[in-house]
Amino acid sequence: MAEKLSAETPPNAPAPRVFLRSIVPVAIVFAFAFAVQLAIPSGTYSEKILFDIGVNVILAVSLNIVNGLTGQFSIGHAGFMALGAYGSIVVTYYGGYALFGDVLRHDTVAGYSLYVASMIVGGLTACLAGYIVGLPSLRLRGDYLAIVTLGFGEIIRVLLQATPAVLYPSEMQEVPGISRIFHLGGALGFSHGQSYNSLGFTWGAVAITLLIAYRLRESTHGRAFLSVRENEIAAEAIGVNTTRYKVNAFVLAAFFAGVAGSLFAHQLGAGTASRPEEFNFMRSFEIVIMVVLGGMGSISGAALAATTLTLLTEVLREVQDYRLIAYSLLLIIMMIVRPKGMLGTREIWHLFRSRRSTVNNRRSTFTGEGA
């Protein structure tokens, strides 16, 4: 609905309305996150599932910015998630030690502010990596990009596995200040993190991701992304700096993957590790499957597929061995029978609208071909 408004509001709309339009969604986001936090007691099974869903939705929706909106093909999203996870846990662990003098969880405003800051640091770490990887490789053709992103994710994993053990507070003095951040626990993982996360943070991040992805697509930048997807040469010819927009999409998606990693790293807390193995290419593939099944380019489709597949994983836990067989068959059959995914480039609410005459429907008929 908001998107329809933005399409029809004249550019010189009165200031109060513009202000309202930008503040209302944010207010709804916070109210929503607060409600989720209150509604679900922590430590329950439903909390775990809702957390998994939240993280997967963020990952799928952010990957959709690259794969769906911009038409590139990244299959190394877990690498960015790993960077976010480690980047943020370094802030809450070593940063927390620098601030508070211990590595415990601080249930204070300062503690949670540190957590929020760590999420941003995690996101920015991933962003930076996205920029470094994206700038050279986005000049290349689609499948080279795929293999580079995949390789990048693996490099991150290998490098993380080579890091020395996490420092205990008693050992902190032996290692001077900033070089502590390289003590990431190696293959065993960063096992001393604190569980700062809760459903409020998770779903707040989900809502912000959805909001930004959505607003982005309706903006000038979003149109540029779509134009790169539809026809790169034509986009270039009308003055769209395609490389820049591809890098932008890549960096933005990396940021949200980093945030998802931060949530992941702070969910379980001390004793449970976020190991480099968690972020191998299988996880990247899972995210890709979500985006593809949902429909490349459909934000609600990606979110829906992420939710469905996460729930399916839980339901099919009994028949674990057959789950991935079913997934992969679904993927192959989907590609042959319905190559655009469940929703194609449409959104869920377009399904309930009459087919004729709306701007969105007309657009979706034009945006058929993915590559």
């Binding site: 038409g71 093909f73 299959i75 990887v133 050279p136 490789s137 290349l140 053709r141 689609g142 499948d143 080279y144 795929a146 293999i147 580079v148 995949l150 390789g151 990048f152 693996e154 490099i155 290998v158 490098l159 596995q161 080579a162 040469i233 191998n280 290419f281 299988m282 593939f285 890709v288 499957i289 593809v292 490349m296 061995d321 057959y322 991935l324 067989i325 997934y327 992969s328 068959l329 993927l331 192959i332 590609m335 042959i336 190559p339 071909e369 993915g370 590559a371």
Partner: protein, 303 residues
């Protein structure tokens, strides 16, 4: 000096196996322009098929003739698998966007891995239960080299020479080259494009099967089908193909050797931890400096 030679020999033997797998990737990429992610699984199947055959026929200490027969049977079975993959999953998508084919390839890969997991079980098959080759040790320039490694290099080189002869000396090879240059024109010239593509998959899969058996013998174990190391091995082979210039057969061999050597030298002189990162580091480097690969031709994107 002796350790240098040791890394060199080891690098050549690992590299020739990479090259053998890389050939399958490069042929498919040359003709269909997509990364056949399922290739690493055909390679995995090669190891399992030959192991199961050896158990079934009770050839766990095969004579040279039996070993060759084992190799050929595994190659034939994987060739059939490759044919079926192409026929059932890729051919319906011949005119679909490349992205869809790539995703299907990932789907096929996951499917084979997890079905294999059901069929072959989840255990690592250790060195004792594998077909035993004579544990003879050669001495080349004073360096001990295991017989398995020599056999691997010899088999790989023989197969590569055979492939080269096939592609450049036969009618069907000419067809393959024509289809690689342009599908449509090749079709207009009366070349049966679909049959050529099937044939390419058959050849590539057979080579991968040989590599699978040789890798299993070299490392003395077969990991479970869904183990990430299979895919990683396959991806490294793809990187080798890109390094040499994708779509170029001698390039794939050169890339495989280069990758095998650099991995062994890095693992030997620096640290084994970084061995898995070498391939992808090389990939990014080569794509920055010379995106068409060492032996590849520069491709101009056409409108």
């Amino acid at each position: 000096m002796s350790s240098f030679l040791q890394f060199l020999f080891k690098g050549i033997s690992v590299g020739s196996l990479y090259a053998l797998i890389a050939l399958g990737y490069t042929m498919v990429y040359g003709i269909l322009q997509f990364i056949n992610f399922a290739h690493s699984d055909v390679f995995m199947l090669g190891a399992f098929f030959s192991y199961r055959l050896a158990v079934k026929l009770d050839w766990l200490t095969p004579s040279p003739i039996q070993a060759t027969a084992l190799l050929l049977m595994a190659m034939a079975m994987c060739a059939i698998t490759g044919f079926l993959i192409e026929r059932l999953a890729y051919r319906p998508l011949r005119h679909a966007p490349r992205l869809n084919v790539l995703i299907t390839a990932i789907g096929v890969s996951l499917f084979i891995e997890n079905t294999g997991q059901l069929i072959f079980g989840k255990n690592v098959i250790g060195v004792r239960s594998l077909p035993q080759l004579p544990e003879h040790v050669f001495h080349i320039a004073g360096i001990p080299v295991r017989a398995v490694e020599v056999i691997a290099v010899v088999t790989a080189v023989a197969l590569m020479i055979g492939l080269q002869a096939l592609v450049f000396g036969t009618k069907i090879g000419r067809g393959m080259r024509a289809v690689a240059i342009d599908h449509n024109i090749a079709g207009l010239m009366g070349i049966p494009v679909d049959r050529i593509i099937s044939f390419t998959f058959i050849i590539g899969s057979a080579l991968a099967a040989a590599a699978g058996l040789l890798v299993a013998l070299t490392y003395g174990q077969i990991k479970q089908p869904a183990d990430a190391s299979w895919v990683l091995y396959g991806l490294k082979a793809f990187v080798a193909a890109v390094i040499g210039g994708i779509g170029n057969l001698p390039g794939a061999m050169l890339g495989g050797l280069l990758l095998g050597l650099s991995e062994q030298f890095v693992a030997g002189y620096l640290s084994t931890t970084f061995r898995d990162a070498i391939a992808f580091g090389l990939l990014i480097l080569i794509l920055l400096v010379r995106p068409s690969g060492l032996l590849g031709k520069r491709v101009v994107e056409k409108v």
